[in-house]
C-alpha cells in the first residue's frame, strides 16, 4: 500500500507530502525520540504525538515512508518548515495512537 492509499483510506490530514507513491511496509509507534531512533525501521508509517522539529530529524535519519501525528496534534511551524526542506512526509489524524495503529494494521495486514 502506498502512502497516498494509506492516507486516503484513513482520511489523514496532509501537512506535507514528499512522495505519495512510496510503499508503506509496516508501522511503528513511539514518542521518546532516542527510543524511536534506535528502533524505527525504514519504510514504515511512524506514529507519534510529538510535534517539534526533532520529529523531522528522526524521520530523516530513520527514513520511515511517512510520519503520522496522532490525537489532533499539529506540527509546529519549525517542524513543518523542516519537513518541507528535508522531504519528510507529514500526515495527521484526530485518532489516538491505539486506534490509528489498529487501523494501519487492518489495512496493511
Amino acid at each position: 500500500m502506498t502512502v497516498k492509499e494509506l492516507s486516503d483510506a484513513l482520511e489523514l490530514k496532509v501537512f506535507y507530502m514528499e512522495e505519495e507513491d512510496r510503499e508503506v511496509e509496516g508501522g511503528y509507534c513511539g514518542d521518546l525520540l532516542s527510543w524511536v531512533m534506535g528502533r524505527c525501521p525504514e519504510n514504515v508509517a511512524w506514529v507519534t504525538i510529538m510535534s517539534n522539529q526533532n520529529v523531522a530529524a528522526v524521520a530523516v535519519l530513520c527514513d520511515p515512508a511517512c510520519t503520522i501525528l496522532s490525537e489532533g496534534v499539529t506540527p509546529d511551524a519549525e517542524l513543518l518548515e523542516r519537513a518541507e526542506k528535508q522531504g519528510v512526509t507529514l500526515l495527521g489524524t484526530d485518532m489516538d495512537e491505539y486506534q490509528l495503529c489498529w487501523r494501519i494494521k487492518e489495512l496493511l495486514g
Partner: protein
C-alpha cells in the same frame, strides 16, 4: 576511497534544532555509497551524541573521519562531565531537564544506542571540564 574528514560545530543554545549535523553526515555517507546498514549505525551514533551535547553539555564539536575500513566519530564538549559512567550507560538512566523531556528526549537510551551501534565506544570525561566520546564503526564488523 580517499579519507574523508568532517567537522561540525554543535550549537548548544537551541535543542529543538538539534540533528542538523547528523543530517549532514547522513548525506555525506550516502554519497560515499556506504552500505545502508553502516550508514544507519553511524547516523544513530552521531544523532544520539549530538543530542547529548546539546541537552547535557551546551554544545561542542563533532569530528567524523571515514577511511576504507571504518568511520570514527569523535564528539567533544566542554560541559559538566559525567559523574558516573556506569550509571549513565544504563538503559533508562537520565538527568534530562523537563524542557528536554517535553521535546521527546530523556528516555536514557542515547548512550546504550551508541554503544550497541558502534564496534567500539570510549568515553573520556572530567567533571567541570567536559566529555569526549569516540565511536568506531567498522565496515567489516557486526554491531556490538
Amino acid at each position: 576511497m580517499d579519507t574523508v574528514k568532517l567537522v561540525y560545530e554543535i550549537d548548544g543554545d537551541n535543542f529543538s534544532a538539534a540533528g542538523e549535523a547528523s543530517t549532514a553526515v547522513k548525506r555525506v555517507l550516502k554519497k560515499l555509497k556506504l552500505p545502508s546498514a553502516i550508514v544507519r549505525r553511524a547516523v544513530i551514533c552521531m544523532y544520539e551524541g549530538e543530542i547529548n551535547m546539546v541537552i547535557h553539555a551546551d554544545g561542542g564539536r563533532a569530528y567524523v573521519d571515514v577511511d576504507e575500513e571504518k568511520i570514527v566519530i569523535r564528539l567533544e564538549d566542554r560541559g559538566p562531565g559525567i559523574p558516573d559512567i556506569d550509571k549513565a550507560m544504563q538503559e533508562g538512566w537520565s538527568t534530562a531537564s523537563a524542557e528536554a523531556r517535553n521535546s521527546g528526549f530523556g528516555a536514557g537510551m542515547g548512550l546504550p544506542n551508541m554503544k550497541r551501534n558502534s564496534n567500539d565506544m570510549k568515553i573520556e570525561t572530567e567533571l567541570g571540564v567536559g566529555t569526549t566520546v569516540t565511536m568506531t564503526i567498522l565496515f567489516g564488523g557486526e554491531a556490538s
